[in-house]
């Protein structure tokens, strides 16, 4: 009378009746079926998240915070749904999973929330009251400028900082974060076209959003105060000042600077600068460097415009020879854009880094153009008159004065500095920017001149801008838009250096330009990415042919023909460009401890309890196990044959227990076991036909003939598998069946295979989902096995996704006949590949195994084609 109790629990009031007479019993089966289906789906979703995270943790692929966040949410929602469904199935026997879930959820949220949310501060701060202490509040550029102005006493223009809180208020008032996050989620990395489109959508959204009126007022008030202290109406420059910018991770030139902005243009310019967070190059840069989108609220520095005669960049350390006691100064006519973005060949000075500040070398560049302010606002590029083009833009005393300022900056900040400088019409030098200088990532011991390399003629030489050596096919680019099809490992050969080339820095093996300075933004990015760069070669785009392989020695400024191994051996391109070590990677690593890690491995262990679940993977594993246990427990309690779990009598390398959820087994099946012939569920029947295909002969030693089978006892059937220690008798594989439905799964240790299928005469709902995960075998073997399965399944028209060692194959909406045929094949595959696990080494010839399976050689017998061409029937 257990059964009566069971049903009373299910339906309370009902009196016992035979099953067929009880529609609500059928309804109960339906409920079980639905609950079960949801459990299987959720388990699949969680396994997919886990595989996805695992493969991202391997490095190599780039991803952002949006990825981490969305995968975490998917895992959480499905873990929660699994708990709900298991409790439905078991009449609330697993309530203690909920508090475990909450703990894990909170742990995950703590990790995701890292670095977010600060109390709201002022929207605008005068530069006169800003220092490095305000880094989070105003962003890197403003904080560095304020520090120089107020605490180092260096000449910096008047200005004010629009805070990061102002940006947050702007975004929140317009709910821009959500839109942006959603847009970014779509973005794969390395797809420049998509990055450009996403960037444009985000920019439009930002430009269309109105500034909160109190922010408008604060910015305009800041401007009025700037004019007051500067003594009259002034044009201003608005420059990005992101958190993280100009700090440990340099964002050199990644963001927008708008020069010569008039009062009525300021508010629009502010949004423009904010939108610069999402230029394609900035999106790519953050993706490559692993900077979470949420971690970069943008501050804006607003400075009184300097009407510069000349400007440039100066570094207190020669980036390529950090040990040398000298500074490097670059300069050109006009406003600063030219030198920094590498569109003119600048003048270069080296200055002794001692009390004398003696000028060691001075080299005049050919400065064909300069940037000047326009009356209506904005700037334009104009030609430089012929006599000024080769003239040095600073006098020697000015060079030495500038060197003094740079030295003062280095002394104050306590490390090598790079500054942007401008010389105004009164002859006064001012500093517009300051950041730590990045030494060349590789080799600091280079000599001065190019080496002779046997067999590889020197083609070009130029200014060494980033050390190390790299080799690859030349890719010629006449502008940063001209990058489509840039190959992995290519050598970028560009007319001008430009920071937008950061887009290919995850793939480039070296960079060579005709024009550009080692103090420019691109050079500092190249050093940061560890990419060898040779600039200012004048002739690279005319001398190098597209596709021709060259070797670049960034330390000595040399380009050689062909692949010069002797130069490459020491400094082979490292994995340093991967995500490892980046903030996003660290967050993924941390979050995966609460999602991916599996602590509950052995269902027979006393630790296999709800209480022991410490990750979403644990919850999925635990619930999955208990789902089957519960279904069998419930059915074992029932005395109806119809609800019982029944062992299957079939030649299989595992015992299968079946549960019928309605119409899958004959109603009158009283037998203690059923045979494949008894089964009514057509998909299960087809799957079993495949698994028991005579040619599989998994049970026989190779030499044994088919005829010998009759005498083999049940015990003997399992022997080969006992020998491999792969399974023990008594472990169950489960099959849930219903009319037109089957779910078969077997799990041994880490090894998981499952088929879920629905098949009726109407194709619209027909599907097969075939999943395979893992195994404790070595990575190479696992990968081989997955590739093999993938290829075989594809040949059967399955759509296959492979994520690490998780294989997910499906077909949908095939005809009944076609679906059943593929289930038959899938059955053969499951049994045949178990065989294979033990045979296929890491270096196996996958092609051979694929064709062996497809020709019916399920034993993977090397002599098969010759010895038994007749097949199995």
């Amino acid at each position: 009378m257990k059964a009566r109790r069971f049903f009373r629990r299910l339906f309370g009031r009902e009196r016992w009746k035979p099953l067929e007479a009880r529609p609500d019993a059928r309804a109960a089966l339906h409920l079980q079926y639905l609950t079960f289906k949801d459990l299987i789906t959720s388990n699949d979703e969680i396994l997919e998240v886990i595989a996805d995270m695992e493969s991202k943790l391997q490095g190599g692929m780039t991803f952002g915070m949006a990825f981490v966040r969305s995968r975490a949410v998917t895992a959480a929602s499905h873990a929660y749904r699994m708990i709900q469904n298991l409790n439905t199935l078991s009449r609330r026997r697993y309530q203690d999973l909920y508090p475990r879930f909450s703990d894990i959820q909170q742990a995950v949220e703590r990790v995701l929330a890292r670095g977010q949310a600060r109390p709201q501060g002022p929207l605008v701060l005068p530069l006169a009251s800003v220092s490095l202490h305000d880094l989070d509040a105003v962003g890197g550029k403003s904080a560095n400028l304020g520090e120089m102005k107020n605490r180092a006493g260096l000449p910096v223009p008047e200005g004010f900082a629009v805070t990061t809180d102002a940006c947050i208020e702007f975004f929140e008032a317009n709910q821009l974060w959500d839109d942006i996050r959603a847009l970014l989620m779509n973005l794969g990395t390395g797809d420049l076209q998509a990055a450009a489109e996403t960037s444009e959508s985000i920019r439009r959204a930002i430009m269309a959003a109105p500034l909160p009126s109190r922010l408008e007022a604060a910015i305009l008030d800041g401007y009025e105060r700037l004019c007051a202290s500067a003594g009259g109406t002034r044009r201003v420059a608005l420059r990005s000042s992101a958190v993280g910018e100009d700090g440990e991770i340099s964002f050199a030139g990644q963001y927008v600077s708008l020069l010569n902005v008039a009062r009525d243009q300021i508010l629009g310019a502010y949004k423009e600068v904010i939108a610069g967070l999402y230029t394609p190059r900035a999106i790519c840069y953050r993706a490559i460097k692993g900077i979470p989108e949420e971690d970069i609220p943008m501050g804006v520095a607003c400075l009184a415009m300097v009407d510069a005669v000349a400007s440039g960049v100066a570094s207190s350390m020669d980036p390529n020879r950090p040990a040398a006691p000298r500074m490097v100064i670059n300069g050109a006519w006009g406003l600063g854009i030219g030198t920094v973005e590498g569109s003119v060949s600048p003048d270069t000075w080296t200055v002794a880094k001692d009390g004398t500040k003696a000028v060691i070398t001075s080299t005049a560049g050919l400065k064909e153009t300069r940037v000047e302010p326009l009356g209506a606002g904005g700037v334009q590029t104009v030609p430089v008159s012929a006599h000024l083009q080769p003239a040095l833009c600073l006098t020697e005393p000015q060079v030495r004065e500038l060197a003094g300022l740079v030295q003062a900056a280095e002394d104050h900040f306590g490390g090598p500095r790079e500054v942007e400088w401008a010389l105004d019409r009164t002859g006064r030098l001012v500093l517009l920017q300051s950041r730590p200088v990045h030494a060349s990532a590789r080799g600091t011991e280079q000599g001065e001149t190019p080496r002779e390399v046997e067999g590889h003629p020197l083609i070009l030489s130029g200014v060494p801008a980033s050390g190390g050596s790299g080799s690859g096919p030349a890719f010629l680019s006449y502008g940063p838009e001209d990058l489509q099809g840039f190959p992995e490992g290519g050598v970028l050969v560009a007319r001008h250096s430009h920071p937008q080339y950061v887009r290919v820095m995850d793939r480039a093996s070296a960079i060579v330009t005709d024009i550009g300075a080692p103090t420019g933004h691109m050079a500092s990015l190249a050093r940061e990415f560890g990419i060898p760069a040779v600039l200012d070669t004048h002739r690279s785009t005319s001398l190098l042919r597209p596709g021709a392989v060259v070797t670049v020695d960034g330390g000595r400024g040399a380009v050689y023909e062909g692949r010069a191994e002797s130069l490459l051996s020491a400094a082979s391109s490292s994995g340093a460009r991967g995500m490892a070590g980046t903030p996003v990677y660290a967050i993924l690593q941390e979050v995966s401890k609460h999602i991916v890690t599996l602590n509950l491995t052995d269902p027979k262990s006393s630790e296999f309890t709800a209480r022991s679940c410490r990750t979403f993977h644990d919850i999925a594993r635990f619930v999955h196990e208990k789902t089957f246990e519960e279904m069998f427990r419930v059915s074992d309690q029932a005395s109806y044959e119809e609800l019982r779990s029944v062992p299957l009598a079939a030649r299989l390398p595992f015992t299968v227990y079946l549960i019928d959820l309605g119409g899958g087994l004959p109603p009158g099946a009283r037998a203690r076991e059923v045979t494949p012939q008894d089964i009514l569920s057509s998909p299960m029947k087809a799957l079993l036909a495949g698994m028991t295909h005579p040619e599989l002969r998994w049970w026989m030693p190779k030499a044994m003939s088919i005829g010998g089978f009759a005498s083999v006892t049940t015990e003997a059937i399992f022997t080969p598998f006992m020998e491999y220690g792969e399974r023990r008798l008594g472990d169950r594989s489960y099959a849930i069946v219903a009319e037109g439905y089957c779910n078969f799964s077997s799990r041994i240790g880490y090894h998981f295979a499952a088929v879920d299928a629905y098949c009726t005469a109407s194709p619209s709902r027909n599907y097969i989902s075939f999943r395979f995960k893992g195994g404790a075998a070595s990575e190479a073997r696992r990968a081989n096995r997955c590739v093999l399965l993938e290829r075989i399944l594809r040949s059967m028209d399955f759509q296959v996704e492979r994520l690490g060692d998780l294989l997910n194959a499906r077909i949908r909406k095939f005809s009944e006949e076609a679906t059943l045929e593929r289930l038959d094949q899938a059955g053969r595959l499951i049994v045949a590949t178990r065989q294979l696990d033990m045979r296929m080494g890491p270096a196996a010839d996958i092609d051979w195994y694929v064709s062996a399976f497809l020709t019916g050689n399920y034993l993977f017998d090397p002599c098969f084609a010759a010895a038994s061409p007749q097949g199995g029937s």
Binding site: P23, H30, S77, R181, L183, R765
Partner: protein, 138 residues
Amino acid sequence: MTRPIRLLIVDDEARLVETLSKRLTARGLYVEGVHSGADALALLQGKPFDVALLDVRMPGMDGLTTLREIKKLQPLLQVIMLSGNASINAAVEGMRLGASEYLLKPANIDDVLAKIEEAFHKKLIQEERLAAQHGPGA
């Protein structure tokens, strides 16, 4: 036996409703779209649907409140939450309130359609189950 899936899309983003409607109609679904929770509830007072795609963050009545009210009006209606905001709390709360799925924007149209079909399948079975429980002879 197979009737077209009746889908209700609830999202304040008019452009998204329009695109989704167009593309899902082309796949054979019957689709209606509204732009607020209140409009959704008004429509559901008098008209049965199979599946709803429900935005989480909407001005006025938010998605979770709307979900709670929808479940009172049409308990069998399968609600798929669609959110641009990857919040675990909202996802879990949605599941707790009986949503069948929590998808993140922007989702691939084929994935969305697969989830809709899955939800519809579930609804058919639940309807059958109800019919079995209450119907005279099932």
